[in-house]
């Protein structure tokens, strides 16, 4: 049996990054993710990697841009306000087709908000908070063990598809401690694509000096007539492949539920308890948990909607993922929403109460 260790989520994520071969980290202090840069500052020198405390979030993501274009696995992390600053860099990473892992341990917003956990950056993460026609893979762990698995997966996907991948957690996941095996297990349930573990991906596009080959250029400016449109359509082909291959989710009681709770990350842990409580009371409730927020598990939800009559979305936001649930099931079944915002965390009792209200209202 592999030894279990007790660490906080941010440290687990940092160590998983090292395990995944991350050898460049740049970041800027912001609560509640400060354990990541602190851990990296100690750990990177031990593995021959580079740690830099940057002068800003903008600089940090651009340092990652520079490291990534040489072929090194590179990561930056932040929390909501800092992630807003990184959006410029993320757009350039997407435009230059550079792999990178960006961690967002979400806190309350808008503005400076507060430092309490939140899930209110879902729109920003899944809609592309930066400019232009691009997408990023967004993975949402719900436990510290899953942080290990999804962090390793993030680096693999970033390299495989040459694009930014975001790990979307929240202040609770970053701060809480759980026993974990620092050993990436199988990639989470119901992965629709092939599992990949630390693939040896040949990077034949890096800049490392043009010795023995033609010079290379990595850029995102495409001024020629029709050039950018052709490039963007190629990006779309890549995104279509990802939507086909990289959807990940978990279903709890998918076969005999009348009502399906839908939630991700920390909120899904509360909803899991709610479902078990309702089951003990003889009520047929289940849970659907998207693990990849982009690509969103549209098909799986749509199939569920053929036999499940009600959906109940719970988020730590005023309602963001709920849009994707409605789009996925094409509004064929009622979708009820309950959310807490600005650092509020829904309790089991609240969720059960709201669920009952929704059922009573005939949602």
């Amino acid at each position: 049996m592999t030894k279990k260790v007790l660490m906080c989520g941010n440290e687990v994520l940092a160590e998983a990054g090292i395990m995944a071969g991350c050898r460049f980290y740049a970041g800027y202090p912001i609560t509640p993710q400060n354990e990541i840069p602190a851990y990296m500052s100690r750990r990177m020198p031990e593995v021959g990697g580079v740690f830099i405390q940057a002068e800003s979030e903008i600089s940090a993501v651009n340092m990652v841009f520079g490291a990534s274009l040489t072929g090194v696995r590179a990561m930056t992390s932040s929390s909501s306000p800092g992630i807003s600053l990184k959006q410029e860099g993320i757009s350039y990473l997407a435009g230059c087709q550079l792999p990178a892992v960006i961690v967002n341990m979400m806190r309350g917003g808008p503005g400076l908000g507060n430092i309490a956990p939140s899930q209110s950056d879902y729109f920003q993460a899944t809609r592309g908070g930066g400019h232009g026609d691009y997408r990023q893979v967004v993975l949402a762990p719900a436990s510290l063990q899953e942080i290990v698995d999804l962090t390793v997966l993030s680096f693999d996907l970033a390299d495989k598809y040459r694009m930014p991948v975001m790990i979307l957690g929240d202040g609770i996941l970053g701060q809480m401690m759980e026993p974990v095996e620092l050993n990436p297990k199988s990639i989470p349930q119901r992965c629709s694509g092939q599992e990949i573990q630390n693939p040896k991906i040949e990077k034949d596009w890096v800049l490392d000096g043009c010795k023995g080959r033609e010079p290379r250029v990595i850029k995102s400016l495409l001024l020629g007539e029709g050039e950018l449109e052709r490039f963007n359509l190629r990006l779309q082909e890549k995104y279509a492949l990802i939507k086909d291959k990289e959807v990940r989710y978990e279903v709890l009681y998918g076969d005999d539920s009348d009502i399906m709770l839908v939630s991700y990350g920390t909120t899904s842990r509360i909803c899991r308890s709610v479902v078990e409580r309702l089951r003990r009371q003889g009520k047929n409730a289940g849970m659907f948990r998207p693990i990849s927020l982009w690509p969103f598990p549209e098909r799986a939800l749509k199939e569920l909607a053929e036999r499940i009559n009600k959906f109940f979305v719970v988020e730590m936001s005023c309602g963001q993922m709920v849009d994707d649930v409605k789009l996925s099931i094409e509004c064929r079944k009622p979708v009820y929403f309950y959310g807490r915002t600005g650092g509020g965390i829904p309790t089991e009792e609240e969720i059960i109460g709201e669920l009952q209200k929704g059922i009573d209202a005939g949602c």
């Binding site: 830099i52 520079g66 490392d208 400016l221």
Partner: protein, 243 residues
């Protein structure tokens, strides 16, 4: 027949898109000559800025990337830290380096990153149509200072070389100009030095090149050169500020 003059090996056989009389072509060429002379073409990674020189990679025949506006020093930092064996240089204009990228240049310099920066100061935003730059001199007319730069409204011309020279992480800063052959030769020496310093591991080196933008100075090519020689140098004295 002996060939006595040709394009540097590091320069592609292409005509540039720059306006007649623009200084960028001269600076591009000097860089390529220096890279050839130091025999580092196969180790160089260049970073193009946002601005008129963004497509420098169409003229340079070595590895080049393109940074977001002002972020050249951060990108250079990322590259050089993981690839210390490569020679990493950034090419930045005055808007890129001295306005939107002020934080990046000051902190890369202050960390003493072992990189080379070529800073082309032509006192105006060229690519976007001649707006006021941080280095626009007082009373200079631009499309956003139609009555001339006014110190009360627009602040003062930013003296990047003098500013950076105060930082202990900086190994070398010099301001040069390219308005006549003598100055071009001096500029080449300075550019060679910023590369040589990196090869020798001396840390952050920057050369500020006063250059002419005839189009947005509203002058003929000849008059623009005279303006740099007589007006701009008054505001931006040439010389070594730190070594």
């Amino acid at each position: 027949m002996n060939k006595v003059f040709s394009k540097p090996k590091s320069m592609k056989n292409a005509s540039t898109h720059y306006c007649p009389g623009c200084g960028h072509g001269v600076v591009h060429r000097i860089i390529c000559e220096v890279i050839d002379e130091l025999d580092i073409r196969e180790k160089v990674i260049g970073i193009a800025p946002v601005g008129c020189a963004v497509i420098a990679y169409d003229y340079w025949d070595f590895d080049v990337t393109e940074a977001a506006h002002g972020r050249v020093p951060a990108v250079a930092t990322g590259i050089k830290r993981v690839k210390p064996e490569n020679i990493v240089f950034g090419y930045q204009g005055d808007g890129d380096l001295a306005a939107i990228g002020t934080a990046e240049i000051i902190h890369a310099a202050n960390r003493g990153e072992n990189i080379s920066i070529i800073f082309v100061n032509n006192a105006v935003y060229g690519m976007t149509g001649g707006q006021m730059a941080p280095t626009t001199v007082l009373k200079q007319k631009t499309s956003t200072t139609p009555f001339g730069r006014d110190k009360k409204r627009d602040g003062f011309p930013l003296k990047v070389s003098e500013l950076l020279a105060t930082l202990p992480g900086v190994s070398y800063v010099e301001r040069v100009a390219i308005h006549d052959p003598q100055h071009i030769l001096k500029a080449k020496e300075a550019i060679k030095r910023v590369f040589q310093n990196q090869i020798n591991g001396l840390g952050f080196s920057l050369v500020e090149v006063l250059s002419q933008c005839p189009t947005y100075l509203g002058h003929s090519a000849k008059e623009a050169v005279r303006w740099v020689a007589e007006e701009m140098i008054k505001e931006y004295p040439l010389g070594v500020f730190r070594q």
